[in-house]
């Protein structure tokens, strides 16, 4: 780790002001950023911790929408997002208790790791990412591996999830990291079905529109018979080929539909 300055503001305004400094960076739960610093792969001059800001905390269900503060930990979402069970289950299965007690929703989606779990939920829910500056639709937010619509210094404050009629997240774990080798989030709304896939694609989280159309007509695993994502563009690594990942997308989608019921 290189030396850096550390501040822990109490309000968003103070955080924004602190972030205007050269090479300042937001620190959420630190579960991605701190290991990166330890490896000396990043060298911010200043870390602005969001963990002291009350306004970024908490889970609230209201009018069919679940709003989760960007600083809310995975453990809190697992415990308190009862209004959206599939989301609570997803959060409760990220990593291990230590990581869940520190890692945050905002940090996870800002990072947009191609194998992270939350991006699948945000995209499949058609959620809205709220920042200090604007509201960004999920479809516009994720822009490929480790890339988002966020501007420099733009803090995510909350994510608003429309609560679906039925939903499930099915994750096939990469054996070593236990991130998603393939994870599929299926959410059924009155006006349609959304299917988001994480872990699989070289372009990061994506929607599987063919499956969405088929499921909109018939929300049952059988509706997916014969559908497949192309292997081209899938990730290939030590843990699975492109073809294997493409295959798993089909399997996990069926399982998600079956589990969502």
């Amino acid at each position: 780790m290189y030396n850096f300055e550390f501040v822990k503001p109490k309000t968003l305004e103070e955080a924004v002001a602190a972030l205007s400094a050269e090479e300042a960076q937001v620190l959420g739960g630190g579960q991605t950023l701190i290991p990166t610093l330890k490896q000396r792969l990043a060298a911010p001059a200043k870390l602005v911790s969001l963990s002291g800001i009350e306004a970024l905390q908490g889970v609230r269900a209201d009018g069919g929408v679940l709003t989760v503060g960007a600083g809310t930990t995975h453990a809190t979402v697992a415990a308190e997002a009862g209004a959206y069970p599939a989301l609570a289950a997803l959060a409760g299965n990220i990593a291990d208790p230590a990581v869940r007690n520190r890692g945050t929703l905002g940090g996870s989606i800002a990072n947009n790791d191609p194998a992270a779990d939350y991006p699948a939920a945000v995209l499949a829910s058609g959620a809205t990412v709220v920042t200090i500056a604007r509201e960004i639709a999920a479809d516009d937010f994720f822009q490929g591996m480790f890339t988002t619509a966020l501007n420099d210094g733009e803090i995510i404050t909350a994510v608003k999830f429309p609560i679906p009629e039925a939903a499930s997240y099915q994750k096939f774990e990469q054996p070593a990291s236990r991130f998603a080798l393939v994870g599929v989030f299926v959410a059924k709304y009155a006006d349609g079905v959304r299917v988001a896939v994480t872990g699989a694609s070289e372009d990061g989280v994506f929607r599987w529109s063919e499956a969405e159309a088929a499921l909109a007509a018939n929300f049952a695993p059988e509706a997916l018979e014969g559908l497949a994502v192309p292997a081209e563009g899938m990730i290939a690594d030590l843990h699975g080929s492109k073809a294997y990942r493409a295959h798993l997308v089909g399997v996990m989608t069926k399982r998600a539909v079956a589990a969502a019921g």
């Binding site: 000396r40 096939f172 054996p175 070593a176 030590l238």
Partner: protein, 787 residues
């Protein structure tokens, strides 16, 4: 009734109190006055010519005390190899130099190029980043067969090729084996890879060098399984420090699994630099450094052929292995694919003719050496996989095929140079069939199938040679050391006992099990016995702990020393009781005169030895302290039968272990609970190898599985609750405790059981899959099903 103390009892491990409450004293917990820190600048290319290492800017960085490079180690010895293998043609193996810091070339990712010693670890690391390297990258050799091709880049320019040795065993059998295979009724052939592993002890390696100018003494604190071996190798071969001026301390050690046997460059560096700088120098490995500098394990590519006659008797085995040595020869590397592997190829079976060929190869990868089981898992895996395949090809039951060929008469001299003293392979198989409920398997399979899962049953038998080892024998085989063990038993004036053992405990529980033996022998409470180990300053020369040797060899030395103590104590008791020595009996801590009610307690005899007022000084010396060195007459041969049941998810290829049963014969057992724990841990590691772990390099020699993000360790939910039994006991015939050792069995016996079970599951689903290389990952299973 289970016993509550002594041999056969299961007292809780006394060392766990300090381990579980954070009160252990590990090497990294030691901090010396004035300590400086070293950071190693390591190669990020697998193979390269060092044109220049420019340290001039780095030297000016804050806190820097000195920067060392390979040039500082010219005239200093290199890291020695402790075993010399002689090849098929009677020639010694090729043995390259292994400098402490790279000289001229770097040969694997992680090879140390420079070492920065500074006031703080951060300053050392900052300065290391300011070193300017001019390294010309050279083509790397990673694949073993490619490394042996003409014109392949050479890892060591001064050697004739990348071949370390081409070993044949038993060379005289070669033609007879070829002939037998040609004439066999059936030959089953299998080609397989024994995957490269990283040992991953929980505690990464640490070294602290210290030098006392007043006495000219050097001390090394290090994470080692064998401090005396390190003192000998480092003192005599690297740094030229005589043993009486060098102390090596291995305090609490958080797991080794073999990887902490070897003498590493960082140990020599810290000892050397401490003397140069007259300050203690400390190094603590990061986990990343552990991945790229701890010796790796396994990494064999093998073809095995099993010949059978028309009655399914095994008639011959021929096996050909390429064994990866990595870039340099680690301390015991040459012995692993040869003497720890070839000698085990008979397994539990009567096969009259065996020929083993091993080509050991240098590549631009981390050195490979012993890892839990060392050679024996590689032998067992190929043998038990090929037997399973033969059973399938012949349409016979795999248990029956094994039984038909079991060795049943002991002692049994194998065609591969060892003589098994005892064993009862049918008994362990019978026990396995019972505890694994083999009879209930079809019903369990049907139940799995109802849930859309494929269920498989995998059987495995193993034999291992441990209790390593008879010194005269290993000397003939190329060992450059003896493999005895030592113990000093010091009885204090009030009867308490301290045992100073050359064995080293790094998780095995010696502090609990060793006292049980003495308590049994004397008839006193275990709490009166304390074990001291891990410091060359206060233990007799010992060879340390590996090869499941601690109780079999170290325990035997302790027994011998304790026998001397008892003999002397009887003389003292005879004097105190005014009786003849021949009439003295020792029971429950009381010396009594046979046939009388006259007795004297253990404590009074001890007191008399140290306060010799009424004492036979003309016949015996005062005091009660004895040392023994024990050199075993043979290896010990634990054996067992294992059964694994798996479910395969045909949609994803994911394998889950549904049950695992182990019936082992470890001879006599000192502490059944500790033995259970050793078997559990070993099976866990074996399941890790079979399903999860894989150390992978790309074709340029970059380590792809360099962290836990990509190197999969087994976790609690990857393993089942084990059914473990060690009630089949054929005591070892040649050591005083009748013990065989249990440390490696689980890791040796489990991988073939797992893979056999996966193949069985796939075959049951109609998939014509004969073999999948480990780790049997979901992706590999799925690919095999759809291959």
């Amino acid at each position: 009734m289970p016993k509550d103390h002594g041999i056969g009892a299961s007292p809780k491990r006394r060392e766990d109190l300090r381990f579980l409450t954070g009160a252990g004293n590990y090497t990294d917990d030691i901090n010396l006055n004035g300590q400086a820190y070293v950071h190693f600048l390591r190669s990020d290319v697998a193979h390269g010519k060092i044109n220049k290492v420019d340290t001039s800017d780095a030297e000016k960085m804050p806190g820097v005390l000195r920067i060392f490079t390979g040039a500082d180690f010219e005239g200093v010895g290199g890291l020695p190899c402790g075993w010399q293998v002689t090849d098929r043609f009677g020639q010694p193996m090729q043995e390259p130099a292994h400098p402490v810091l790279a000289q001229g070339k770097v040969r694997h990712v992680g090879d140390p190029i420079a070492a920065v010693v500074a006031e703080t670890p951060e300053q050392a690391r900052d300065a290391a980043e300011a070193i300017v390297l001019d390294i010309e990258e050279l083509p790397a050799v990673v694949d073993m067969k490619a490394a042996l091709e003409d014109g392949a880049p050479k890892v060591h320019d001064d050697l004739t090729s990348n071949l370390c040795y081409d070993w044949g065993f038993v060379e005289e059998n070669r033609e007879a084996v070829d002939e037998a295979i040609k004439n066999a009724a059936h030959v089953t052939t299998l080609e397989l890879v024994n995957n490269r592993l990283v040992a991953n002890p929980m505690e990464p390696r640490v070294a602290i060098g210290d030098y006392n100018p007043a006495t000219d003494e050097s001390t090394l604190y290090t994470t080692s399984q064998n401090p005396h071996v390190i003192r000998l190798l480092m003192g005599a071969f690297v740094l030229g420090i005589p043993e009486h001026k060098l102390r090596v301390v291995a305090p609490d050690v958080g797991g080794g699994f073999g990887s902490k046997i070897f003498h590493y460059a960082e140990e020599a560096f810290c000892t050397f630099a401490a003397k140069q700088l007259k300050r203690p120098v400390k190094w603590t490995a990061t986990r990343s450094e552990a991945f790229m500098t701890d010796a790796h394990g396994r990494d064999h590519v093998t073809k095995i052929e099993l010949a059978l006659d028309a009655d399914h008797n095994f008639t011959a085995i021929r096996t050909e292995t390429h064994a990866n040595m990595g870039a340099y020869l680690s301390t015991f590397a040459p012995s692993v694919p040869t003497w720890l592997h070839g000698t085990l190829m008979a397994g539990n079976y009567r096969t009259p003719l065996i020929y083993v060929n091993v080509k050991a190869v240098f590549t631009n990868t981390v050195p490979v050496d012993a890892y839990r089981g060392a050679g024996r898992p590689e032998a067992t895996f190929q043998l038990e996989r090929v037997i399973d395949k033969a059973a399938r090809e012949l349409g016979v039951d795999p248990i029956e095929l094994r039984r038909k060929n079991f060795i049943t008469e002991f002692p049994y001299a194998t065609p591969v140079a060892v003589e098994y003293d005892t064993g009862n392979y049918h008994a362990t198989m019978d026990k396995l069939i019972e505890i694994a409920d083999i009879a209930g398997f079809p019903a369990r399979r049907a139940e799995s199938e109802k849930r859309g899962k494929l269920r498989g049953l995998g059987i495995n038998c193993y034999i291992e040679a441990c209790g390593i080892a008879p010194s005269n024998l290993v000397g003939q085989l190329g060992a450059r050391a003896g493999l005895y063990e030592s113990a000093t038993v010091r009885v204090n004036a009030t009867g308490g006992i301290v045992v100073m053992t050359g064995s080293h405990s790094h998780g095995q529980g010696h502090e609990t099990s060793f006292p049980q033996v003495i308590a049994e022998m004397i008839g006193i409470d275990e709490s009166m016995v304390e074990i001291v180990h891990g410091d060359t300053a206060n233990t007799p020369m010992g060879m340390g702990t590996y090869g499941s040797r601690s109780i079999a060899v170290g325990g035997s030395a302790m027994v011998r020393a304790t026998e001397k103590i008892i003999n002397k104590a009887k003389k003292i008791a005879a004097h105190l009781l005014e009786a003849s020595e021949a009439d003295i009996e020792l029971k429950d801590g009381q010396f009594s005169v046979a046939g009388t009610d006259k007795s004297v307690a253990w404590g009074d005899v001890c007191l008399a030895a140290y306060v010799p007022h009424n004492y036979p000084l003309e016949d015996i010396e005062p005091g009660l302290e004895e040392t023994a060195f024990y050199d075993p007459a043979n290896f010990t041969y634990p054996s067992g039968a294992y059964a694994c049941e798996v479910e395969v998810d045909p949609d994803t290829g994911k394998v889950t272990i549904e049950s695992f049963a182990a019936a082992d014969d470890f001879g006599n057992i000192i502490n059944p609970m500790i033995v259970d724990g050793q078997v559990h841990g070993g099976i866990g590691q074996g399941i890790g190898q079979a399903l999860l772990e894989n150390c992978v390099y790309d074709e340029n020699g970059q380590l792809l599985s360099a962290s836990y993000m990509d190197y999969a360790m087994p976790r609690a939910d990857d393993v089942p609750f084990y059914k473990v039994d060690h009630s089949c006991q054929t005591p070892c015939t040649h050591n005083p405790l009748g013990v065989k050792g249990c440390g490696e069995a689980g890791a040796i016996g489990s991988p073939p059981a797992v893979v056999n079970a996966v193949i069985d599951a796939l075959q049951s689903g109609g998939y014509k899959v004969d073999h999948i290389d480990m780790p049997v990952s979901p992706a590999r299973v799925w690919a095999a099903m759809h291959g």
